[in-house]
């Protein structure tokens, strides 16, 4: 399998992040093309391309756009979800640092397609330099007549606001993001009504991930056939895989959907020297863990799902045999407890309880029955919580007990964690 850099293709080109650099590399040509098309034709094209949401759920992007009622007399909104916070996920931030204009170009095309004159980029607040790059890119786009009134002389108006979050994982959930953007506590909303009907300010709204929107200019330019030449039947195109953890070369790898972790490890040099793969996440901590037995699972929506997990954000966090599974899972569980918004009972109280049990287990306290209790609590959270955060919180626990039950028991037998935390550090043997 070959890598197919498209989004990341020009990240090594000088000053790509500036408007001049972007234009030098062909930037804003797709916008010109798109503004000459009928909005409906753009939606059809994106539908036909088979582009699916890159934020985790994989919903067909063009179909989402087509849900926006046209001629309804209401304002329409495009909101870009740049609240990248899923543990292990680190693709959108480097993309925005290196190429903020590709997102803006995608925003213009998408907004035009859904008849929106106001778009927002909701970017997490803990990445100031990314916020800066976006602010500057928007200012430069306005100055160049690419945003504002009568864009590119085509009579189309669009305003774009960069909105910085303030530290809340839940705002990556699209309806929580909308509440947050409206100035409320970022808690998920009841659906229906779905955002396409009553989203931001109760108006029709499309919410897309950064990578989804950033993929649009390339599809406009490259065409449906080109896009479909990559990927698998139901998971078309290229995408960013983020490799992190105990690997020789962590980083961003852009490849056709359906590549396997084995292929990616081969391309990147593999697990760190002298160690072996123990477990990994296919798409962030909310996707059930995989082990070495899943090295050949095609990393597309269907492939990962049929192996019992989710493609998610394609955040491939690699852990070798030095990593204690209980510690890893406890830490994720603490994350979910910290980030639970508090709205619904199963997530708020469940994550609070799970952490307490896992803390005991990591310290070697408790009994094997606690594992069954953990699984039963997860059963009472999964599918019972208001949104997917609660479901995500159960993923590491249930999958880890499935694959590493004996390691949990080893903690209980030893009365303590049998692992040396130093061994798993990057600087193990250097200065620990």
């Amino acid at each position: 399998m070959k890598l197919t850099p498209v989004l990341s293709a020009n990240w090594d080109q000088k000053d790509l992040f500036t408007i001049d650099g972007y234009r030098r590399n062909g930037g804003y040509s797709a916008m010109k093309k798109a503004l000459a098309m009928e909005p409906a034709a753009i939606i059809s094209l994106i539908k036909e391309s088979g582009l699916r949401g890159r934020g985790g759920a994989g919903f067909p992007t063009g179909l989402k756009w087509s849900f926006i009622p046209q001629g309804d007399g209401k304002p329409h909104y495009l909101v870009v979800n740049a609240d990248e916070s899923e543990p292990g996920t680190c693709k959108d931030m480097p993309l925005l640092l290196a190429n903020p204009h590709v997102l803006i170009e995608g925003v213009i095309i998408a907004s035009y397609a859904i008849n929106s004159n106001q778009a927002f980029i909701y970017v997490r607040g803990e990445v100031v330099h990314v916020v800066r790059r976006l602010q500057q890119a928007v200012a430069d786009a306005y100055a160049a007549g690419l945003l504002g009134k009568n864009i590119d002389g085509k009579g189309y108006d669009l305003d774009l606001v960069i909105h910085a979050g303030a530290g809340a994982y839940i705002c990556g959930e699209e309806t929580a993001l909308l509440d947050s953007l409206e100035g409320f506590r970022g808690q998920p909303r009841l659906r229906p009504p779905f955002p396409a009907i009553a989203g931001l300010y109760a108006c029709p709204t499309v919410i897309n991930n950064v990578e989804s929107i950033a993929s649009v200019p390339a599809i406009i330019n490259g065409g449906v056939a080109w896009f479909a030449s990559m990927g698998t039947e139901k998971s078309k195109g290229f995408t960013l895989y983020s490799l992190s953890g105990h690997v020789k070369q962590p980083g961003q790898y852009e490849a056709p959907l359906g590549i396997t972790l084995r292929e990616l490890l081969e391309l990147s040099g593999g697990v760190r020297e002298g160690h072996t793969l123990k477990f990994w996440t296919p798409g962030g901590s909310s996707t059930p863990l995989f082990t070495a037995e899943h090295l050949d699972v095609p990393l597309d929506y269907e492939g990962v799902a049929s192996a019992g997990s989710m493609l998610g954000t394609k955040a491939l966090q690699i852990f070798d045999e030095t990593t204690c599974i209980v510690r890893a899972v406890l830490r994720w569980s603490e994350f979910y407890q910290h980030e639970s918004c508090g709205k619904c009972t199963p997530c708020r109280e469940g994550t609070y309880w799970l952490v307490q049990i896992l803390k005991d287990l990591e310290a070697g306290k408790g009994t094997e029955e606690d594992l069954d209790k953990l699984l039963d609590l997860c059963d009472n959270i999964l599918g019972r919580a208001f949104c997917a955060l609660g479901d995500g919180a159960t993923s590491p626990i249930t999958s880890s007990i499935k694959y590493f039950r004996s390691e949990y028991i080893a903690h209980l037998t030893a009365g303590q964690c049998p692992f040396d935390p130093v061994a798993s550090t990057l600087f193990a043997g250097v200065n620990a």
Partner: protein, 786 residues
């Protein structure tokens, strides 16, 4: 809590949807939520965040059920409080689905891990939805072995509401009520996740007029009332359905008693009037009836010492009867009586005293108002439903939130639901009016393109203080087709009008001046004739008494300082032979010749007519009382005067009133008075505008310090131009004065007309009638206090 199907569009939406719940077929109006459809066939799905009058939220997850639509099952259980029934839907609740049953049990377990085990000392214990549903849906033993979340025990979020965050299950009913219903988001969810909690902003307490409702809808003991806390166990209370005696909204209530003592009052459930809400005054202002100065025995004035001394009932009746028969007598029953009582007063006046000199109005009024009441109020059928369907609502001399809070909620509901257009004629936009998104008009004459033939004009009793205003309202209504409704402040005024406790009206709108009407009533009462001359109004009666033309006064509830001219009232009380029927010592009893202690609202039964004319009947709460009602005192007096009323009790009084029948004869003509220009103030002067705040120094709020603690702080309001004219800035003390006295309060610069000053009418630090001896519209002096 409403258990029945309370979906408001039930009647309008005839379309029915049929589905199956636990194997039983159920047909409900389209849009009905699963949880409420289940109720209709007796299936109770446990719930906490769900409340029929709040928008669905689906937060607590307690009501999860399995759902199948078109043969396709949802992969996971759904919240039945957020999902409407669809045709052919198959719902399986905890009764028939093991998955739903486990889901509910799981959620219950989660709710309980952080809940303290203090039920034995919790006010809610015994009537607690969490306790009850933990019994029905929970498991006996806990599996939680960890550390519970703890918070410092209850904190005062206002002087009357306490919050125990450990007990809170974060259903957000209270915050949603405050935001959605009351429009007072002074409490909010704070923090996040397991640390989430209900909170006020530290400097701004939860001073909503509707705060008590949050206690009532709290499904646990997290919110408790300072006045009821630790007072009783729910199972020791005896509950009686009652009606609120405070204002003309006529809220349905429940009064709870333990060992002959009223311990609390709750909002009753009456969708047509108050839904499930009431205001904090209605909820907590009841201790006036047990104040230390409550009268216990009849009193008569000792002619030698001039002191009031206790007397026996027969003795007091004899003295009173003698006094009333000796000279021309008149009757001032006041505005807070039941329909039965006020009917008895007017019958007493006409049958026993042979006079039409009776007037229930113990407040500023006008002759124009008398005509208006007779032409437009008596018999009116305008109701809350007209608010619900109005195209627009105009408030005139009526601050709904302060003067009739439940009408305020009713209007606000329509504003929120369908952006009902609201206008207010007032000097400035009050917080209450702004919560109605009201357009502000400084004068009725400046209103344009507001009315349709489905508009509603709500006129407050204060309109009588502006000459010509009521006539103008009638003119507008006649030309636009808009409806007029009059909203008095006191609970008994509409009943008094219907009963004919006013000089120009006999019962049920019969004009005194109409011979047929008089014959009608005389026949019903079995007497030869009724007095035919028009009766004097309150002010005329008092003036005549002060000058000796009237020698005796029979007085119900009356406070001279509620009247436009307290001095005349005091002079009248000093000169006439006064028979006073009262609860507590008052300015009237102090000057009375005979005082009869009467029953409070809990010690009698009866009926209020609310502003709609709707009957608000209530039962006697304290069954073992020996208190005597006004009605009983009057019948004893009548018997002593050998003119029996033939009214044994409130039941017979009501029956007689009901038997009189509607009047279909001519009505009193509408008033047609010109608008009188307001006085023109010069620099250093201003036109006074004033009204009463909901919580103030009203004597029926006595004895409830926790409630008083949430009253709005009094201030003086001026426009910026007026303030600079007299050299004061925001927050400075401003002195407002008349010949009679003065009031000094801090200034709040307000957008309002120049040389107009506003003060609260009867608040701490601002008692207009006592200090200034004037009413709204008077010219007063304003100046810097410094």
């Amino acid at each position: 809590m409403t258990i029945t199907n309370n979906t408001e569009n039930v009647v309008a939406q005839a379309e029915m949807v049929t589905a199956t719940i636990d194997g039983f077929e159920v047909s409900v109006p389209k849009g009905t939520l699963i949880i409420r459809a289940a109720e209709t066939i007796g299936i109770q799905i446990p719930r906490f965040c769900d409340h029929p009058l709040l928008a669905p939220v689906g937060a607590c997850r307690q009501c999860l059920v399995d759902v199948e639509v078109n043969g396709r099952a949802f992969p996971k259980p759904q919240a039945s409080c957020t999902m409407p029934i669809e045709p052919g839907m198959v719902v399986k609740t905890q009764l028939s689905s093991p998955v739903a049953e486990k889901a509910q049990r799981g959620v219950m377990e989660f709710l309980l891990i952080n809940h303290p085990l203090d039920c034995p000392v919790c006010d809610k214990g015994g009537e607690c939805p969490l306790q009850n549903q933990a019994m029905s849906t929970g498991q006996g033993q806990t599996r939680f072995e960890g550390t519970k979340r703890t918070f410092p025990k209850p904190i005062n979020i206002s002087s009357q509401v306490l919050l125990d965050r450990e007990r809170c299950i974060l259903c957000a009913r209270c915050t949603r009520f405050s935001e959605q219903i009351a429009g007072d988001p002074f409490i909010s969810m704070s923090e996040r996740g397991a640390l989430q909690q209900v909170a006020i902003y530290e400097k701004d307490p939860f001073e909503s007029y509707f705060s008590g409702n949050t206690i009532q809808i709290c499904p646990v003991g997290a919110l408790t009332g300072a006045s009821y806390r630790f007072r009783a166990r729910p199972f020791d209370l005896v509950s009686t359905a009652t009606a609120c005696e405070h204002c003309a909204a006529g809220c349905s209530m429940r009064t709870d008693v333990r060992r002959s003592k009223v311990l609390r009052r709750l909002a009753g459930d009456d969708p047509a009037v108050n839904e499930e809400w009431n205001c904090d005054k209605g909820r907590w202002a009841f201790t006036y009836a047990t104040a230390p100065d409550r009268l216990t025995t009849p009193l008569i004035r000792n002619e030698m010492s001039g002191e009031l001394v206790p007397a026996s009932w027969p003795e007091a009746i004899a003295v009173a009867a003698a006094g009333l028969s000796k000279s021309r007598a008149a009757v001032l029953p006041g505005g807070r009586l039941t329909l039965e009582e006020v009917y008895t007063y007017q019958k007493f006046a006409r049958v026993v005293l042979g006079t039409n000199d009776i007037d229930f109005r113990a407040r500023p009024f006008s002759a124009e108002e008398s005509a208006f009441l007779a032409s437009h109020v008596v018999g009116s059928t305008i109701s809350n439903a007209d608010i619900d369907s109005a195209d627009s609502v105009l408030l005139i001399s009526f601050e709904a939130e302060e003067e009739s809070p439940i009408i305020f909620l009713r209007i606000r509901k329509q504003v929120m639901k369908r952006a009902l257009k609201v206008g207010t004629v007032a000097p400035f936009l009050t917080p209450g009016a702004s919560k109605l998104n009201a357009m502000l008009y400084h004068s009725i004459t400046e209103i344009e393109s507001f009315f349709t033939n489905k508009s509603l004009i709500l006129v407050g009793e204060r309109a009588a203080q502006t000459p010509g205003l009521l006539s103008k309202v009638i003119e507008i209504a006649n030309s636009s087709g808009a409806k007029i409704a009059w909203i008095p402040r006191r609970a008994g005024e509409r009943g008094a009008i219907e009963a004919g406790a006013i000089g120009n009206l006999l019962p049920l709108g019969r004009p005194v001046s109409n011979a047929t009407a008089r014959v009608d009533i005389a026949a019903a009462w079995g007497i030869a004739s009724l007095p035919s001359g028009p009766g004097l109004d309150t002010l005329e009666i008092l003036k005549s008494a002060a000058t000796g033309q009237i020698g005796a006064l029979l007085i119900g509830g009356l406070d001279p300082f509620d009247l436009a001219e307290p001095a005349i009232a005091l002079a009248a009380l000093d000169s006439a032979f006064v028979v006073s029927l009262e609860l507590r010592e008052s300015e009237v009893t102090k000057r009375a010749n005979v005082v009869f202690p009467v029953a409070s609202v809990t010690e009698k039964s009866g009926t209020f007519l609310n502003w709609e004319g709707r009957e608000r009947g209530f039962e006697q709460v304290l069954k073992d009382t020996t208190r005597v009602s006004d009605l009983r005192v009057l019948t004893m007096l009548a018997e002593a005067l050998a003119a029996p009323l033939n009214l044994r009790d409130s039941v017979s009084a009501k029956a007689e009133f009901d038997s009189l029948g509607e009047w279909d004869g001519e009505r009193t003509p509408a008033p047609s008075e010109p608008i009188v220009a307001a006085p023109t103030p010069s620099a250093g002067e201003a036109v006074l505008i004033t009204w009463r705040m909901l919580l103030d120094l009203g004597s029926m709020q006595d004895g409830e310090a926790n409630l008083a603690g949430t009253a709005r702080k009094a201030n003086v309001k001026l426009a910026a131009e007026t303030a600079s004219e007299i050299g004061v800035r925001d927050g400075d003390l401003v002195r407002v004065s008349t010949e009679a006295g003065s009031i000094a309060l801090p200034l709040e610069i307000t957008e309002m007309p120049v040389r107009v000053v506003w003060l609260p009418e009867n608040s701490f630090g601002s008692q207009i009638r006592r200090s200034l001896r004037v009413t709204s519209g008077a010219l007063v002096r304003i100046g810097s206090e410094a």
